[in-house]
């Protein structure tokens, strides 16, 4: 109870300067810390799977993504919007307060015990041969949702690349980092990735029976891929590379093929053959991990830019 109060107080104490801060950089720095705190909150809510994702995405990727956004904004023409008037500020305040009250009321109005599908999931989990109910839901019972999410990532990469100026099309994504040939950053960029790959494989593998899985593993892989880029000792591959595009699409394609195999063998899309459910799930997850890792990295890097030094 004391721990919960401490975490909630810290979340609020961090959230306020993130929103109110005048400098974009300070807001991003505190937002990264905020993500770490959210991971603790998820642990307290017994959602270790979500905590792992939050730790991997929050600590690893969203910070780099937001810093890149701040950098791009700083390079553009100054924003000349007039500051909001008093009536607009009041309206925004009322709107936010109303939303908060509505959310609170909705949570308090939940029937007790809250409606849950946890029972049916645990009753049928044996059919999928995996021990982690989260994996069973993501890959089995709600497999179609996960398939569509994976497809959304591919579409997001396509949409992002569409923003590239014609002259830069086919070039390397992201901006060029100043090179750190030696020193602490170069050391980390050389030492950490091999260890990180091992950790990612471990997280993916235990995901079948314990918290972990493809998304967390992919986020770790992405962070390890971005590290040498941040140190300026490796450049990302140009987006015209065929293998890069194939990798991005491979995960959803493998998932769809597994789905049609289910139609042919079991008579239902995404039905896994009996006795081979776990093998198919893990095979699809391995390919998905690679695809998600590459897609996340490309999304964080951004479209290829005309002026690579900007």
């Amino acid at each position: 109870m004391i721990a919960d109060l401490l975490i909630v107080a810290a979340i609020v104490a961090l959230a306020l300067p993130v929103v109110l801060g005048r400098s974009a950089f300070t807001s991003v720095a505190l937002f990264v810390a905020y993500g770490l705190l959210l991971a603790f909150a998820w642990v307290r809510l017994d959602a270790v799977d979500v905590a792992l994702t939050e730790a991997a995405i929050g600590a690893g990727l969203s910070g780099v993504l937001l810093l890149g956004a701040a950098r791009r904004l700083a390079g553009g023409p100054p924003v000349e919007d007039a500051p909001p008037g008093k009536a607009q500020v009041a309206l925004i305040g009322v709107g936010c307060a109303g939303l908060a009250v509505a959310l609170g009321a909705a949570i308090l109005a939940l029937p007790d015990p809250a409606p849950s599908l946890a029972g049916p999931v645990m009753a049928n989990i044996a059919a999928l041969e995996v021990g982690n109910p989260v994996t069973a839901v993501l890959m089995g019972f709600r497999g179609l949702d996960t398939l569509l999410e994976a497809a959304v990532l591919v579409l997001a990469v396509v949409a992002l690349w569409a923003l590239a100026p014609d002259a830069a099309w086919g070039g390397a994504p992201g901006w060029r980092q100043p090179r750190a040939a030696d020193g602490p950053l170069a050391l980390l960029a050389r030492v950490l990735p091999p260890i990180g790959v091992v950790v990612a494989v471990h997280i993916l593998w235990v995901g079948a029976d314990a918290p972990g899985g493809k998304f967390q593993a992919a986020a770790i892989l992405t962070a390890m891929w971005l590290l040498p880029w941040m140190a300026g000792i490796a450049a990302p591959p140009p987006i015209s590379r065929a293998w890069l595009r194939i990798l991005v699409a491979a995960g959803p394609v493998a998932f769809i093929l597994a789905g049609f195999a289910g139609s042919a063998l079991q008579g239902a899309f995404l039905a896994y053959p009996q006795g081979y459910a776990k093998a198919v799930i893990i095979a699809v997850e391995v390919v998905l991990t690679a695809s998600i890792a590459v897609a996340l990295a490309l999304l964080v890097l951004g479209p290829p830019a005309e002026d690579r030094d900007a």
């Binding site: 300070t26 602490p184 950053l185 260890i195």
Partner: protein, 97 residues
């Protein structure tokens, strides 16, 4: 035997907490950013090391022991690298709003 392990864990974890408290005390009391960085990167990581040491005999398998050691090793390497980078940032005197 279990009593011995328990006593060892309690002693090591308690020593670790002392260093965490010392680190936070330094964070609060030290006057400038570079000194505060000392308090954070040194005391906290020693504290974590002692906590890891105390939990080692309680690990259920060899893999658990290796994971604990890997965690501490990773934190040592990465904070050793992050410390100087943060110090350089502090020396640039960059100020946030």
């Amino acid at each position: 035997m279990t009593l011995l392990v328990d006593v060892f864990t309690v002693l090591a974890v308690a020593a670790g907490i002392v260093f965490f408290i010392a680190g936070t005390a330094g964070l609060i009391r030290f006057p400038d950013t570079s000194s505060r960085l000392h308090a954070l990167t040194k005391a906290d990581h020693l504290g974590l090391g002692l906590v890891v040491l105390g939990l080692l005999p309680r690990a259920e398998s060899l893999g658990g022991v290796l994971r604990l050691l890997a965690i501490w090793g990773l934190v040592l390497v990465s904070s050793a690298a992050a410390g100087p980078m943060l110090a350089r940032l502090a020396r640039r005197g960059a100020r946030g709003g």
